[in-house]
């Protein structure tokens, strides 16, 4: 699939996730039944436009409530999304991935991947264990939402504060702390490709567990592969191999494969697309 088509999918997805347009003017969030379901990507449910829930926020809330009820619903939701789509969600269906990719387009000197970035890519599993699972279970607080999530500031706090005076009046030190984190991530995204996805995002960490076996996945035809490693060198994520846990299934590597050994299984985008892109 061509990069332009992927961008279009990302934009449409971001708009569909946040199509309660009147909320942006009123400073109030959508309260309908659709919010009992989750979107696949990281999208704050306190965004005035959001019509559905954030999977990460909902998982933490379910863990906070797990003293009373085992979180079957959210575990099922994430298992299903992961098994069907894996990190295709990161590549195509996450609004924050889109924001970072757009920032990375700003023409400036870029910091390339290396051993350091490969090592840092494991940090997201620590964030998942500590902030998404540990803190909610032990302290009954959604740790990731409260202390890290930049989407809560970008999509939630800023639009709400702009239109809602009572919210604006309540913002304090925690908001300032989270705002600094959000700004740091956005600035870093100008220089480092998808810095949040690669090193911090616990949702990507969850989906990465399924990436090799999900219905949507990238595959390499071993019979055609010459092991030239052009795909791994071309990829801006920290992959060791196409389709591994770090692969966001963007499919752009297929365009540099001289033997057309890389293909997407089984949904959208074909080898033909990749060949068109290469020429």
């Amino acid at each position: 699939m061509k990069s332009g088509k992927r961008k279009l999918v990302q934009v449409i997805t971001a708009v569909l996730y946040n199509c309660n347009f009147t909320g942006f003017a009123s400073g109030k969030i959508y309260k309908g039944k659709l919010k009992s379901a989750c979107v696949p990507g990281l999208n704050c449910y306190s965004c005035p436009g959001a019509v559905s829930s954030c999977p990460l926020g909902s998982l933490q809330q379910s863990l906070v409530s797990s003293k009373y009820r085992f979180p079957y619903y959210m575990l099922g939701m994430l298992l299903l999304l992961g098994a069907l789509l894996g990190r295709f969600i990161c590549g195509f269906l996450c609004p924050f991935g889109l924001v970072q990719e757009l920032l990375f387009k700003i023409p400036t000197k870029k910091i390339k991947k290396g051993k350091w970035s490969r090592a840092l890519s494991y940090v997201k599993y620590v964030v998942l264990a500590v902030f998404v699972i540990g803190i909610p279970l032990i302290f009954a607080v959604p740790g990731f939402c409260k202390y890290i999530c930049p989407q809560g500031i970008l999509e939630g706090a800023l639009p709400l504060a702009a239109a809602n005076e009572s919210v604006r009046g309540m913002l304090g030190k925690l908001f300032s702390f989270k705002l600094i984190i959000a700004i740091a991530i956005l600035v870093a995204a100008v220089f480092i490709f998808r810095v949040f996805c690669r090193f911090i995002c616990p949702l990507g960490a969850i989906y990465s567990f399924f990436n090799r076996v999900s219905v949507a996945r990238m595959e390499v035809d071993e019979a055609k592969c010459t092991h030239c490693n052009a795909c791994v060198r071309f990829c801006k994520m920290d992959i060791k191999k196409v389709g591994d846990a770090e692969c966001i299934q963007c499919g752009e590597c297929a365009g540099v494969c001289a033997t057309c050994a890389i293909s997407r299984k089984p949904i959208i985008g074909t080898k033909k697309d990749s060949q068109e892109e290469a020429t």
Partner: protein, 45 residues
């Protein structure tokens, strides 16, 4: 093990957990949180 078998098993387990979650009211936990402004998310506390 066959990849298709693992994928199929995961999808079935996902549906099963989702169904149990809906039956036991887990869906309400999600809805009740999502229809109120999340103070943690927006940095109020």
């Amino acid at each position: 093990m066959n990849k298709k078998l693992i994928t199929g098993g995961l999808i079935m387990a996902g549906f099963l957990l989702l169904a149990v979650g809906i039956a036991t009211g887990g869906v309400n936990d999600v809805l009740n949180k999502a229809i109120r402004i999340c103070y943690e998310c927006i940095g109020i506390g």
